[in-house]
């Protein structure tokens, strides 16, 4: 049995145990910790340079259906390792910070979402990669509808919105994946194995590749809140209970990006390079960065601002995918990790403030720096990371993405091309981020609170998840090599293919 299978099923077993009456907090923290240790152990022993592109470590494959050929196949390479690391980290932090009264359902929901994300990241069979992602759908729906913030009508509306959007998105995705599998299987057996499908991808006509890629982009894009399919995300994160928001915004949303990087780009290389697909993608990601950036500036509540900023920052990762160069893709992976940690940290802090202060409106807050110094420092980590300050994780990713766009061979190198113009416009997004983050920081932590509401630093045990996530941001920010070593060879092939 591969350790990866344990990692996937442990949270499910733990949530079942909690449902049957095991002590919720201890069980879920133990499960999350074991997962973190297993994945951490794998990461320590992992040598990215030993794996050829398209090769996986710790593989295990069990046939569940012969025709169409579907296997429960797991495996790990640098990219999935980074995302698994992100998942286990955020899960650990998320279940640790749960302090609600009805904590049982919160723990079950968090563990199920975590299991879904891990299953999706660690499967090497498209069927299970897709299937596991949907495991989170019901827990998310119920948690937002029943235990979300705000009045019942609002949170139900929000829950329906996210469910219908994600449901539709995954059906579009299913149609795209069906087309992909049908076109790339070599018959007479339909196969869903990522490696087996790669054989035929070179011979698929560019026009076919382009439209399948576009359908996949729409499907995966909806799950990542790509503009203009983004409107479910911000209200959902603002309404969701803290642990769900952390896991969904921090981890689960990365699934769509992961899918593009794992399935769409390697299997449909010509589709990704098609001019019209590129142009459409660039327009959509500019929508994320600029339109959502401006929307974010106009938010006057912390949770709304964080939720919108999370949608906005997806644009940079899409930019890396659009550029398609080795550097940009690696940057996109680092940025996925960094964004996941920083947004989870932000939501953890935001949830803490909501519990203690009862309000998150900037106009009512202020002066927390003197009352809660630790919180001030941690929040600074999250906020500055999200702006992209050097020394914190996001910076490394963003720089790599920006620089990567300048070596794309796809566009004419003589003058500034569409991709590079997009990059230049995207750089303004960084300014926008700085504006709203710093403004929020100043309003919350300095001056005086109009409402007279203040809060203390959390108790010692509750500092664990905050400090952990902040430390990760700092470590990866100072030595991004820790992550980059894992994906050393991942896109060496991309260069050869002329990307």
């Amino acid at each position: 049995m591969s350790p990866l299978e344990i990692v996937i099923f442990l949270p499910i077993v733990a949530s079942l145990a909690i449902w049957l009456g095991a002590p919720a907090r201890i069980t879920s923290i133990t499960a999350a910790l074991i997962n973190l240790l297993i994945i951490g152990g794998i990461a320590l022993g992992f040598d990215g340079s030993k794996l050829a592109p398209g090769e996986f470590a710790h593989v295990s494959s069990r046939v569940v259906l012969e025709n169409p050929a579907i296997s429960f196949a797991v495996g790990i390479d640098g990219m999935s390792l980074i995302l698994a690391l992100l998942t286990t980290l955020v899960t650990f932090a998320a279940v640790w910070q749960i302090v609600a009264e009805k904590d049982k359902v919160f723990h079950i929901a968090s563990l199920l979402i975590s299991a879904g994300a891990l299953g999706a990241f660690l499967s090497t069979d498209i069927f299970f990669l897709y299937a596991f992602h949907e495991l989170a759908l019901i827990p998310t729906f119920l948690m937002i509808a029943l235990h979300g913030h705000g009045d019942q009508a609002t949170r139900r509306a929000v829950a329906w919105k996210i469910t219908v959007y994600l449901g539709l998105g995954s059906l579009v995705l299913l149609a795209g994946l069906a087309a992909l599998v049908l076109n790339l299987s070599e018959g007479p057996t339909l196969t869903f194995d990522v490696t087996a499908l790669a054989h035929k991808s070179a011979s698929l006509p560019a026009a076919t590749q382009a439209w399948i890629f576009f359908v996949l982009l729409l499907g995966f894009g909806t799950l990542v809140s790509l503009f203009p399919m983004h409107s479910w995300a911000a209200p959902a994160y603002a309404t969701a209970p803290t642990s769900v928001a952390m896991l969904h915004a921090g981890v689960l949303k990365k699934f769509g990006l992961y899918g593009l990087l794992r399935i769409a780009l390697p299997l449909l290389p010509l589709g990704a390079q098609a001019q019209w697909v590129q142009q459409a993608l660039l327009l959509m990601l500019l929508g994320n960065i600029l339109v959502m950036g401006l929307v974010t500036i106009h938010q006057d509540r912390l949770d709304d601002m964080l939720a919108n900023s999370s949608v906005m920052h997806m644009g940079y990762i899409f930019l890396g995918i659009a550029a398609g160069t080795e550097l940009a893709l690696k940057g996109a992976v680092v940025l996925m990790f960094a964004h996941g940690v920083s947004i989870a940290l932000s939501f953890a802090l935001c949830g803490r403030m909501r519990n203690q202060l009862g309000t998150l409106e900037f106009d009512k807050l202020g002066g927390l720096a003197t009352h809660a110094p630790l919180l001030t420092v941690i929040f600074a980590f999250a906020a500055f990371a999200s702006i992209g300050l050097p020394g914190l994780a996001n910076f490394a990713g963003e720089v790599m993405v920006f620089l990567g766009t300048f070596d794309s061979k796809l566009w004419s190198p003589e003058k500034l091309n569409a991709l590079q113009w997009t990059t230049i416009l995207s750089l303004w997004g960084v300014v926008i981020s700085a504006v709203y983050m710093l403004r929020a920081y100043r309003k919350i932590f300095f001056g005086t609170a109009a409402s007279g509401l203040y809060m203390k630093d959390p108790a010692f045990s509750q500092r664990v998840p905050l400090v952990l996530l902040a430390a990760v941001l700092l470590i990866v920010g100072c030595c991004p090599g820790t992550l980059l070593d894992l994906i050393k060879t991942a896109w060496a092939a991309a260069k050869v293919a002329g990307l």
Partner: protein, 492 residues
């Protein structure tokens, strides 16, 4: 022992139970129901042990009786659903007997076995005569079952509606069979398959017959535009009978439809495009007319009726997406696979309704509120059933839907796929509405729901089957690649 004799024995057991109910008042309803369950389980074991070679059949049935993978599958399917329906009847005997004419349930316990005989026989039909007789055996028995709790006005009303529309469908079916016979000169599927390839056959006569034949069968499987009876009949019928209609009657309609379509779309058929278009149009409107009205339903039973229509649409789409030459998956196999996954989730949903009814809880969505606290187990089971009906991955329901999607994408039926996507997305909405109601806390009462240990075990097993088949569908592999009957018959 041949498979054929199992059906004879089962019919005899059914008659014996009806007689026992009438003449041995000392025997309780539950005993009779469990006798029937034991009978079907024994029959299932016998079926597994029986010879599957067609040469084992007695000479007088052999020409009219096939024993291929699909027919064996549908025979086993009929036995399983019959046993489960009898279990549901035993579960809800106290509620049902309040509404029957004499306060007893004799025929309600005996007739499902007769229906089962009809369904098993239908699975083996090789010609329209056998189809007609076995279909009528099923339908006439269902008239009685639907109207059985006749002290309830709804049940009686459902009985009358089912009777009139069912009889009309029978008339249309026989009329269509007559014209197909007139065109092809044969009533056997093999002969019809040869007839549709024959250039000498009058095509307009053939198409006229096919239209009526498919309309008649469309009624049995609840395909639009012949689906209007479904919501009323499902709502009015006793809940176990509704489950039986929804799974058993639909499956037997689909085995016949599979055979007929296999014959009509045999290689070289001259009516391929007409029949395919007919199926595609019907599939598209069936999915839409099933899913969209379901959104507005407040009765869970009625909601499940519309959902059953919508599932019929997906099955029709599977039938229209004929097996492509590139991949060894047959459309008949996909339909059988889909139905096999449909069985546990539907029965599970109706089981919860039966249990709640016994506790005096009706089937409206509002009355489900608070179930999450009154019975966490039932709530979880119903959630799994709903997730599977909605087609969420990792449940059995997803695989069936995915195979249908894959087949349809392979043929490029994008218009119908669009309708199916809308239908499936609407499904997310109305099934999740049920889930939301379960876990909404403002229930009227906190009194816990009591369920016997045996029933808990069976229901949990059903849920486990849903999840296991979602993760590990390999046991159904053989069914999926079952060769189409007509292609076997034509020696392809």
């Amino acid at each position: 022992m041949s498979a054929f004799s199992i059906e004879v024995l089962l019919a005899l057991l059914g008659l014996a139970i009806v007689l026992a109910a009438a003449f041995l008042p000392a025997v309780s309803q539950r005993t009779l129901a469990w006798t029937g369950i034991a009978g079907s389980v024994v029959a299932l074991l016998l079926l597994c042990g029986a010879s599957h070679a067609e040469s084992s059949l007695p000479a007088f049935v052999a020409p009219y009786y096939s024993l291929d993978t699909l027919s064996l599958f549908y025979k086993a399917f009929a036995l399983v659903i019959t046993a489960l329906v009898l279990w549901l009847i035993a579960e809800s005997d106290s509620t049902l007997s309040n509404y029957s004419a004499d306060g007893k349930l004799g025929e309600l316990v005996g007739l499902p076995l007769i229906v089962c005989t009809g369904m098993m026989w239908m699975a083996s039909a090789k010609d329209l005569v056998t189809v007609f007789v076995s279909l009528e055996l099923v339908t006439v028995a269902f008239y009685v079952l639907v109207a059985y709790t006749r002290k309830s006005a709804l049940s009686l009303e459902a009985g009358v509606k089912y009777l009139i529309l069912g009889a009309a469908a029978t008339g249309v079916l026989v009329f269509g069979a007559a014209w197909v016979y007139g065109a092809t000169g044969s009533l056997s599927f093999e002969g019809i398959a040869k007839g549709v390839q024959n250039a000498a056959v009058n095509k307009s006569v053939l198409l006229f017959g096919i239209a009526f034949l498919l309309a008649g069968l469309g009624f049995k499987v609840a395909a639009a535009p012949f689906h209007m009876w479904v919501p009323d009949v499902y709502q009015g019928a006793p809940t176990p009978v509704t489950a039986f209609l929804s799974v058993g009657s639909k499956a037997s309609g689909f085995i016949v439809l599979t055979r007929v379509i296999d014959a009509l779309l045999a290689n070289g058929s001259r009516v391929t495009s007409e029949v395919t278009n007919l199926l595609l149009i019907s599939a598209a409107i069936t999915v839409l007319l099933g899913s969209l009205p379901a959104i507005f339903q407040t009765s869970v039973k009625r909601l499940l009726a519309y959902s059953s229509i919508s599932h019929a649409g997906f099955l029709l789409l599977a039938l229209a997406s004929r097996s492509s030459a590139r991949f060894d998956i047959t459309s008949g196999g996909v339909v059988a696979f889909y139905l096999a996954t449909y069985l546990p989730m539907t029965v599970l949903a109706f089981f919860v309704l039966c249990v709640l009814r016994r506790q005096g809880i009706g089937d409206s969505l509002d009355e489900l509120k608070g179930l999450g606290r009154r019975s966490p187990l039932l709530a979880l089971l119903l959630t799994i059933a709903m997730a599977s009906l909605a087609g969420l991955p990792l449940t059995a329901g997803f695989l069936g839907k995915m195979l249908v999607f894959v087949a349809a994408v392979d043929h490029g039926y994008w218009g119908v796929i669009g309708c199916a996507v809308i239908g499936a997305a609407a499904g997310f909405y109305y099934y999740f509405k049920v889930i939301l109601a379960i876990y909404t806390s403002e229930g009227t009462t906190e009194e816990p729901v009591t369920v016997s240990i045996a029933s808990k075990a069976i229901a949990t097993a059903l849920a486990a089957i849903i999840l296991i088949l979602g993760l590990y569908p390999r046991p159904l592999q053989k069914v999926l690649a079952a060769p189409a009957a007509a292609s076997v018959a034509l020696g392809k």
